[in-house]
Symmetry: none
Subunit: 400 residues, 2 copies
């Protein structure tokens, strides 16, 4: 649905919506017994809730599209992930909680190794330690260029973020990363005349970095890619006319919520603390986005049993969510991460949406297979937000 | 589907399509036994027909969107309710069978009460009687303004419609209704220069109304909102190459059918008379839109049992529809009106589409839950029309 229409239909209310995102929720059957993580897990609370909820599967982006965390979350928040794309640099900045202002240009950086001819021999500089990365980033942070402030922040191992802040910067820039060993780092080029000044100052930065790092073998050079400005997203709380907040354990997810204009609370150590935070702040907001990482981590590790255990951990806490009596409670994921695939996948993600007014699905178990039989079949993830709004009695009628 | 494509595919035929709209058909489970109105009702004829029909749920507008009668019907007739929006004034005119010509500007009016400072103290003038409304509307009908004919028609209690007819009028006008007590009525403003002349004559009308009504406390002023010209809708009979007619008991639904260019027959008193009218005119048309209000009325009243009774009334008449041997027979609604909600809701609406060529759903009961299991799952309401056309053998192949 059009965001303009959402804004037009939204009415103020005191109702509460809790969106619980179990990262990488959906899975696939393992070979041993043909059952998926959700099918193997004992999920008595989720199963009972699913029977009383609207259930289905959601396509995060589109059939066959493997969503990154960015598009997956944008879709969950109701933003079409094709219309609103988040550049790589901006996503990296989100991932380390580096706040961007409109017009800032962020880029993903790698420390790399150059040979004596200036050719890349290792795009990851032998995966230097994070400590080394931190030290080198402090050095790079000393660099001054004409026309922009430069901020350099370590991520992990060889990875860092560089951010340029200044008037009239453009992100229409080619990468310096040649993406292959044996090649030389490329000069950054402006795509179109407006970006030429930015390209020049980025190249200035790169050349000073080369000078600064020349004795830091194996991390004797940098490669930059994915230059991006923060996307212009209409603010979620204004669109929906509610107070929205993110409760997360990791910067990436808080960063994504901030991009759409949600408020955020201090990082939590675990689901336990997330629940305490939710409860303590329940009166201050109307929309709560709560992120849980365990399911995705286990999936990425290919650890089927750990994913089952993570699901069971979530299940045990469901009564605590319900004890808050949210008007709408949604459990879903931002993409599937089947343990057998060890990575994000294109498979639609199960969801349940409980409200006093949701039609009960009557399904017996909260699994990929049973959700597929739900009345919603496979729907678009962006449609969850309007559904939540309607169920929270936060929408007026469309047309008389 | 694109209307252009529908027109391109439609071929002449002698087949008959009957679209029976049980207003507000879909419901929700009641607390007592977790069963919906359709699940409680004894519907032997509909159940048997559903088993032999294509069944499913339809989203009238989109997930979470609560459809007004206008968008709900437009969707049923195959018109995308986002693309074709019906302004409030036009819908009100439909509701009292006031025929609009292209370019007419209609507006919803309220009689209201002003205090001595000219502030609105009651936006509904204490809900004056319909009789008073009628008398005052006759008075307002005497007003003359420069450049347009003015037609004023009572609706009910404090509500009326005012319609301006003249050359070059625009509906790009702001409301005079401030939507809050304590404020003064607003001057109507043209949005853009082209609307300024219309704004001037509307304000002329309002000021004369103020003068005329000043001793009519509590109805001593009017508020106008929702200025609208009839939407430019491609004519249904030409798109589909058939003769289409509306059989209804209420002006609103006949008005909506007329907006899309259907013919209409005199109002019926009840379903009984609708069936007689259908039968008597069966040879003269190819597409019959038959509207039944009882289901919605009971739902709006929050009267679960009355809605069950209305459904059972419909069920008893199903054999009479079938006795006419329509080539395609559709039973559905324009939106859900669950008795437990007492109002239109966003929940998808059950449908059955019977034809000799429809794939039998095999479902056991015509209910929200069973329809959800049908092969169509939840589809878009606008897709019913092309489906009906195909089942009526009124579509040619697309592409060679």
């Amino acid at each position: 649905m059009d965001l303009t229409l959402i804004k037009q239909l939204a009415i103020p209310s005191t109702s509460k919506i809790v969106l619980f995102v179990a990262d990488g929720l959906g899975g696939l059957p393992r070979e041993a017994d043909g059952r998926s993580e959700m099918e193997v897990a004992e999920l008595p609370n989720l199963d009972a809730l699913a029977a009383r909820s609207q259930c289905g599967l959601i396509d995060m982006v589109g059939p066959g599209i493997i969503p990154g965390s960015g598009p997956g979350h944008l879709a969950l928040f109701g933003y079409d992930p094709f219309t609103f794309q988040i550049g790589r640099g901006v996503l990296e900045a989100c991932g380390i909680d580096l706040e961007l202002q409109p017009g800032d240009v962020a880029s993903r950086g790698n420390f790399c190794t150059l040979d004596e001819e200036g050719r890349v021999t290792d795009r990851r500089a032998g995966r230097i330690t994070t400590q080394t990365c931190e030290r080198l980033c402090r050095q790079l942070g000393q660099i001054r260029v004409d026309g922009a402030e430069v901020i350099v922040r370590p991520v992990k191992e060889h990875r860092f973020v560089v951010m340029f802040r200044g008037a009239g910067l453009s992100d229409a820039l080619t990468d310096s990363d040649p993406q292959a060993a044996g090649a030389r780092p490329l000069a950054v080029k402006g795509i179109g005349q407006e970006a030429e000044q930015t390209a020049a100052l980025v190249n200035q930065f790169i050349e000073q970095a080369r000078e600064l790092l020349k004795k830091e073998y194996p991390a004797n050079m940098i490669l930059l890619r994915g230059f991006a400005v923060p996307p212009k997203l209409p603010a979620f709380p204004e669109l929906l006319r509610l107070r929205a907040v993110a409760i997360t354990c990791y910067p990436m997810y808080r960063g994504l919520a901030k991009l759409v204009g949600m408020e955020s609370l201090p990082f939590c150590a675990d689901l336990n603390e997330e629940l305490r935070t939710l409860s303590a702040n329940y009166d201050h907001y109307d929309f709560f986005y709560v992120h849980y990482k365990g399911t995705d981590r286990a999936g990425e590790d290919g650890d089927f049993d750990a994913k089952v255990a993570a699901l069971e951990e979530v299940d045990r806490r469901i009564p605590e969510f319900l004890a808050l009596h949210p008007d709408v409670f949604i459990v879903t994921g931002d993409h599937s991460t089947p343990a057998v695939l060890k990575t994000h996948s294109w498979h639609p993600v199960p969801f349940l949406l409980w409200s006093r007014w949701s039609r009960p699905s009557g399904i017996g178990k909260f699994t990929e297979r049973e959700c597929a039989l739900g009345p919603s079949g496979t729907m678009r993830a962006v449609d969850l937000t309007p559904l939540a709004m309607a169920n929270a009695m936060r929408f007026k009628k469309f047309g008389a």
